[in-house]
């Protein structure tokens, strides 16, 4: 049973028989030893939740990316479904690359796609990890008809235990001009803030419960009042955070 001088390998070849190196002075004359520019891709649904209160709705917010360490494509989608109508349907596509240790620059496009008239925007922004582990993003938008907009987002993961995580989160939208068709007034338009307590059954699957606050301000609040909608809502949420 011991291989001492047994069984000559039929197709044994010496290294010399193999294709010779193309460029002996290169780091890898026989080709790359591994792929350190591998393309990875992931999709994260941060919010997939029912919002319950004076009125009930379904809300999603997620993003997907694919690419290398240097070059990535991002797809971001969010919206809220209430009584058969989708609102806040902001869909974005970015090219992203790192500009510092913790921040990426992103450039791309945004399309407001929901039950209201659509709007296209050019988009540029930065996203990353601020000191104290705050996840932040700031994005500016410019539309073809000269409207400008901005959005600020921040969130923080507070570990109560290794799997029980409390996440405060806030999102703010600003516009330079009124857009009555989309019920938007200039200035600070709206705030969507939440406090969610999730339990990571696994890293990739975490049910949560929490409260969210949605506030509308300025002209946007006026439009809401005109529609008979609330301008300040605090609701209870149940949902799941999941990623692949």
């Amino acid at each position: 049973m011991v291989a001492i001088g047994l069984v000559p390998a039929a197709q044994a070849q010496m290294a010399a028989d193999h294709s010779m190196p193309s460029a002996p002075s290169s780091a890898a004359p026989f080709g790359a030893p591994f792929d350190d520019e591998h393309i990875f891709y992931h999709a994260v649904l941060d919010q997939l939740e029912g919002r319950f209160g004076a009125n009930n709705s379904f809300r999603w917010e997620g993003e997907a990316w694919g690419g290398t360490d240097e070059n990535r494509i991002w797809l971001k989608s969010e919206g809220e479904l209430s009584q058969g109508l989708v609102s806040d349907g902001i869909q974005q596509l970015f090219y992203s690359r790192p500009i510092s240790t913790y921040f990426d620059a992103q450039v791309g496009a945004r399309y407001d796609l929901d039950s209201l008239p659509g709007r296209g925007w050019g988009a540029f922004g930065i996203e990353g990890l601020a000191p104290l582990f705050f996840k932040v993003a700031a994005t500016g938008y410019v539309s073809g008809d000269g409207h400008l907009a901005a959005r600020l987002e921040a969130s923080y993961d507070l570990l109560l235990t290794q799997r029980l995580i409390l996440q405060p989160q806030i999102e703010m939208n600003f516009y330079t001009k009124d857009d009555p068709a989309r019920h938007i007034g200039s200035g600070l338009s709206d705030i969507d803030a939440g406090l969610r307590l999730r339990y990571e059954i696994s890293r990739k699957f975490a049910p949560y419960a929490g409260v969210v606050y949605q506030g509308k301000f300025g002209g946007t609040a006026d439009f809401a009042r005109a529609e008979g909608e609330a301008t300040n809502e605090v609701r209870f949420v149940l949902g799941v955070r999941t990623w692949w």
Partner: protein, 638 residues
């Protein structure tokens, strides 16, 4: 490269059971219970001609069947025993659907036989047989593993024992290989992908509300908040110990999970040689055998002056041979992962079926400012009297009484007596403003002249391997930290070990049994910063990945020093192919020879070698996923 025998007059009564297996019944095998896989295959192969088959083998480690990558159907692969002076021939047949390779780790051989796809050959294609043939010019304990893709993680590794022609300078009656490894049911690429998305994916020992409350109780609210703010400002976590943990890994000893209890037999009173090999992809282990003193006699295959220890750390790809003399009936061989997320375990027993108590896991280490390369307080040294206060804090957390701190030898500072100073961190402490405190005198001096006092090392031209100015690294996407005050940490056992009350091996203890510095002083030094960005999970040298850098050109015959500065907060086991290098650890002309050195966070260290073998030699971090992410260079000797 025959070994000098220092104690040549000692009789050898070793019974090399590996020899026995070639002729005797399997029951005599020292590798009883060796490896998971087909039971009827021989587990030790001896000779100068070997036929090895790389293939996929269904395996059940955790309760679920998975396909492992194996040699001759075994995990680990068979123990290969070569004899020093032989010309060995190894026919490696690839029955996988993908290319494979076998690299003979630590073996000094012709470049074309080194087995690194891309560098020394194109790999072994599916269905192909490749013949390795090389002279055996050394002896000791080594290992082999795949250098292709993730095959090393999925099982393609095994022990290499090179029997010396002459007598060995120590006695033993029995000889057991103890090969440690990490097994996962996950696809290795999934693990890397998970880390790219969330770098703390496998870290379930993070700071939380619970540890905040505990620390507040111990240190006070202000100190605890300061500490959290300090780490938060840096966006670093002191709990980053291992990237991949027991959350996915089952730690194996000779292919056996802890519950399967690999057992090595002895007769009471016998001297037992244990050949520890860390064949893991990503896991550092701390090894001890409660109740037994271990005498380290070999490191990375090269004999060293005996060092008696109770515990030692083994980085990925390192080997240590120890001799123990058991008298009781059973002892636990306990190899806990550095992050304490699990352990590999086996038993040394007088007969089959015995077991000894398995000790509890030690407290999880926490990284400190020293690991960030910020110098830290002067007493990070491993002398038992001079434990850093942060280490004692770790012990406090577990309710273990902390050893009273003695005066720190290098600085004479005793923090515990300094009023108003938070015990566990350096936040808010500005050393430069503290009168009379010259922090880290030891580390500073040696940091600038790695490995030896200035008097012993002449100034030689030093250049960065990639022509990079280290100051330019800060803020780059690929770099999250640049060590401001890297220091010599060879005399430290490492995070989680220093100050634990046990006598633990350090690199400073290693002293070659024979003179090693035949080549004289080096004429040139090449500096490598080990860099990374934990959040982005990017790893490299000097802020560059392999694909972004060219080869490191070294002239044939050149005597050269490699200086390694670890800017990251983790250990990196750095491996140079084709050479045994001399670690500059102040042991005069008896610097220990190694093929892999586990560089501590915040450390600056160096080694020297004579570039007498031409070719494309791989130089890389032996954490498999760090290598795959590009923490790899070609050293081109021509």
């Amino acid at each position: 490269m025959s070994k000098n025998i220092r104690c040549g007059t000692l009789g050898r009564r070793q019974f090399v059971e590996g020899l026995a297996v070639a002729t005797a019944a399997t029951a005599l095998s020292p590798t009883r219970g060796w490896a998971t896989g087909e039971g009827s295959r021989p587990s030790t192969l001896l000779g100068d001609r070997f036929d090895l088959t790389v293939g996929s083998t269904p395996l059940n480690v955790t309760g679920r069947s998975r396909l492992a990558t194996t040699v001759n159907g075994l995990l680990p692969g068979p123990i290969l025993r070569f004899r020093e002076g032989d010309l060995v021939t190894l026919n490696v047949r690839n029955t996988l659907q993908e290319p494979t390779s076998i690299h003979w780790h630590g073996i000094v051989l012709p470049n074309a036989m080194d087995g690194v796809p891309g560098l020394t050959f194109r790999g072994i294609m599916p269905g192909e047989t490749f013949t390795y043939r090389f002279p055996v010019r050394q002896s000791g304990t080594y290992w082999y593993h795949s250098h292709s893709g993730m095959q090393e993680q999925t099982g393609l590794y095994g022990p290499l024992i090179l029997e010396p022609r002459g007598r060995e300078p120590y006695l033993y009656d029995r000889d057991h290989v103890v090969m440690l490894s990490d097994w996962t049911d996950e696809d290795p690429m999934t693990i890397v992908s998970n880390l790219k998305q969330q770098s703390d994916y496998y870290n379930f020992g993070q700071r939380s509300l619970g540890t905040f409350l505990k620390d507040t109780k111990r240190d006070g609210l202000a100190a605890t908040v300061d500490d959290r703010l300090m780490w938060g400002q840096m966006r670093m976590s002191p709990t980053d110990i291992m990237d991949v943990s027991g959350a996915t890994y089952t730690f194996l000893m000779n292919g056996k999970a802890p519950g399967a209890n690999w057992t090595g037999l002895f007769d009471p009173g016998q001297r037992v040689r244990l050949r520890f090999i860390n064949g893991s992809s990503m896991s550092t282990f701390d090894i001890r055998i409660p109740g037994l003193e271990m005498t380290v006699v070999q490191a990375d295959g090269s004999d060293v002056d005996p060092v008696a220890v109770e515990e030692f750390r083994i980085g990925v790809a390192e080997t240590y041979d120890v001799i123990v003399r058991p008298t009781q009936s059973a002892y636990t061989i306990f190899a806990q992962a550095e992050d304490r997320s699990g352990y590999a375990r086996g038993t040394l027993a007088a007969r089959e079926g015995l077991a000894a108590a398995v000790p509890p896991l030690d407290p999880r280490p926490l990284r400190t400012m020293t690991d960030m390369g910020m110098g830290g307080m002067a007493h990070g040294g491993s002398s038992p009297g001079g434990i850093g206060t942060h280490k004692m804090d770790d012990m406090d957390k577990q309710g273990t009484p902390a050893t009273p701190p003695g005066p720190a030898p290098t600085s004479g500072m005793d923090h515990s007596k300094m009023p108003g100073m938070p015990q566990q961190d350096m936040s808010g402490m500005d050393h430069s403003k503290m009168p009379g405190m010259s922090h880290d005198m030891n580390g500073m001096d040696q940091g600038k002249m790695p490995g030896a006092p200035a008097a012993q090392q002449a100034i030689i031209p030093t250049s960065n391997a990639d022509g990079v100015d280290p100051k330019s690294l800060a803020g780059k996407p690929s770099v999250d930290n640049v060590a401001m005050e890297p220091r010599n940490r060879l005399a430290e056992a490492g995070d989680g070990l220093d100050g634990n009350g046990r006598r633990t091996l350090t690199y400073a203890d290693l002293r070659s049994i024979k003179p090693t510095t035949q080549g004289g002083p080096p004429t040139r030094a090449i500096e490598f910063h080990l860099t990374g960005n934990m959040q982005r999970w990017i790893w490299g040298f000097n802020g560059k990945k392999f694909s972004e850098a060219g080869p490191i050109a070294v002239k044939l015959g050149e005597r050269i020093r490699f200086v390694l500065i670890n800017d990251t907060m983790m250990e990196h086991p750095i491996h140079l192919h084709g050479y045994l290098f001399e670690v500059e650890n102040n042991q005069g002309n008896r610097l220990p020879l190694k093929h892999t050195i586990n560089v501590k966070p915040g450390e600056r260290m160096s080694f020297v070698f004579t570039a007498d073998a031409p070719g494309h030699w791989a130089f890389h971090c032996h954490l498999l996923y760090h290598m795959e992410m590009g923490m790899f260079r070609t050293v081109l000797v021509s």
